[in-house]
């Protein structure tokens, strides 16, 4: 089949929509979290201002090449993750550059940003960054494991590695969703989801009270702005994967918005109510709970 160049501007359009949606959604989620603390919270357009301000700072300093590349890698991870899975099922316009093997690629991209961040922050030379990196890599690895297991379970269940086909298999009524056809895999994946969202109880990587503030300690102005951009794109992209794999995908932007919002809210609610685990505690948590569930889900398929 020939590659349709029209896909590229379509994908960029997707990217644009997702970026704005992410900026607004994270702000609104922050407002909801503030309500838990009886506060009003930030205005919903605050993220745009912060972004603009960080790009507008006048002075930048660097600690070496990898210091430049760290945020770039991270952003690449987020964008790549988004671009290689279909955002909206069934619409030629927003199915992006998805192809038959994109599930594996997506798994790779989820991890890619963290690795790039590790290289960059390691270069910055701040001991807090170093500690944050060691924590982050170990924890993200542990959080990835259940997800990978769950994804294998799904792949076995639907006998395909293409996200599109998986979504296709889930169409036709809520009961066809993986959430009901293979609940164990979904549970394992949701635990992994919590673990990789950098919110309590699994945010020891960037815990301000211990290692202010972990990997991004040395990052400022434009670098920080890049990472902010990624911090709104990456979760949405990740949630898109979850939505496609487990919650029947989205066939329209409205459905997309609602599902993503609810999934994000799930992690935010858990984050508001809980203090944070220590890193070895969280690793133990994943080993004891998430991983066995994932294995079990594979065995059951």
């Amino acid at each position: 089949m020939t590659f349709e160049w029209m896909k590229i501007p379509y994908s960029l359009l997707t990217l644009f929509i997702v970026l704005n949606y992410g900026l607004l959604m994270t702000a609104i989620i922050a407002k909801i979290g503030a309500r838990a603390g009886r506060r009003i919270g930030i205005p919903f357009y605050q993220n745009y201002i912060d972004l603009l301000k960080n790009y507008a700072l006048r002075s930048k300093i660097t600690h070496g090449y990898m210091f430049y590349l760290g945020p770039v890698f991270r952003l690449t991870g987020g964008i790549g993750l988004l671009l290689f899975v279909p955002t909206i099922y069934g619409s030629e316009m927003f199915s992006n550059l998805s192809f038959s093997g994109d599930l594996i690629l997506a798994l790779y991209f989820i991890f890619f940003g963290t690795l790039g961040m590790a290289l960059g922050a390691g270069e910055s030379g701040s001991p807090h960054s170093a500690i944050g990196i060691s924590r982050g890599l170990s924890q993200v690895t542990m959080a990835e494991l259940p997800l990978t297991l769950a994804v294998f379970a799904i792949a076995l269940q639907y006998q395909t590695l293409s996200v599109t086909e998986i979504v296709a298999a889930q169409q036709g009524g809520i009961l066809h969703w993986t959430l009901f056809t293979n609940p164990l895999a979904v549970v394992a994946a949701m635990l992994a989801f919590l673990g990789s969202m950098m919110r309590p109880p699994f945010d020891v990587v960037i815990a301000p009270q211990e290692i202010p503030i972990g990997p991004p300690t040395e990052y400022h102005s434009a670098y920080l702005a890049l990472m902010q951009t990624n911090r709104v794109i990456f979760p949405v992209a990740k949630i898109v994967i979850y939505m496609n794999l487990f919650f029947g995908g989205a066939s329209s932007w409205g459905e997309f918005a609602i599902k993503v919002f609810l999934l994000y809210l799930f992690s935010a609610f858990v984050g508001v109510a809980f203090p944070r685990f220590r890193v070895e505690q969280s690793i133990r948590f994943f080993m004891i709970w998430a991983v066995p569930i994932g294995i079990l889900s594979i065995l059951l398929v």
Partner: protein
């Protein structure tokens, strides 16, 4: 000079010997540079608006004033509404709150924190003791006139200033920034020698590089 800042030969864990000269390796010897507004009037106006609407404070409670910072961030006076929030690291902060008197020991740290912030950066002196020494006008350990040691954009008087006063002060600071008069960083870079002379006249044991990024 502190001994860990002196040039020395270090034997690495792999037995490989190498010389470390911290002033060269860890610090940048270059003096600060004034970053003048380069863009056109409209763009700078937009940028200043953004800077004013998202003020990130460095979470460094240098004195008693820090006790009123927490009510500032909590339900009664919710400063997040105005785009104000804390950043734990100086790299990402724009505003350094000198919350109350500065002992000479803290002044040294405050200077380091200030110099690590990225321009444009702002300083707000909080409480009477930053203006003229206040209660501690005859103390042997606190500075009396903050704006001799770092460029202060705004003073908030009172001992201690109430959170309402702080919010009003933030609004004034926003006005100053939007009128792009808050060029403290450039002022610091231009009169660098004068500030350094003042700082060294107070800090008797100057054991750090003159300018640390």
């Amino acid at each position: 000079m502190k001994e860990e800042l002196e040039k020395r030969v270090v034997k690495g864990p792999d037995g490989f010997e190498f010389t470390v000269e911290p002033l060269q390796d860890y610090y940048c010897a270059e003096a600060p540079r004034a970053h003048l507004p380069v863009y056109s009037k409209i763009v700078e106006g937009l940028f200043n608006w953004a800077r004013a609407e998202s003020i990130w404070i460095l979470g460094f409670g240098t004195g008693c004033g820090a006790i009123e910072m927490r009510p500032l961030m909590t339900p009664r006076f919710d400063a997040y509404r105005f785009g104000i929030q804390w950043r734990p690291t100086p790299r990402q902060a724009n505003l350094l709150m000198i919350s109350g008197y500065l002992s000479t020991k803290t002044l040294k740290r405050a200077i380091r924190a200030y110099e690590q912030m990225q321009s444009p950066k702002y300083v707000v002196g909080l409480g009477s003791c930053t203006i003229n020494g206040g209660m501690y006008w005859d103390s042997y350990n606190t500075i009396k006139k903050l704006d001799d040691y770092m460029p202060v954009d705004l003073f908030i008087a009172g001992c201690m200033p109430r959170p309402e006063a702080l919010l009003a002060g933030f609004n004034d600071l926003k006005k100053i920034i939007k009128a792009d008069k808050a060029e403290g960083a450039n002022k610091y870079a231009e009169n660098f020698d004068w500030y350094k002379a003042n700082q060294k006249s107070v800090i008797k044991d100057w054991d750090m590089p003159d300018y640390n990024w």
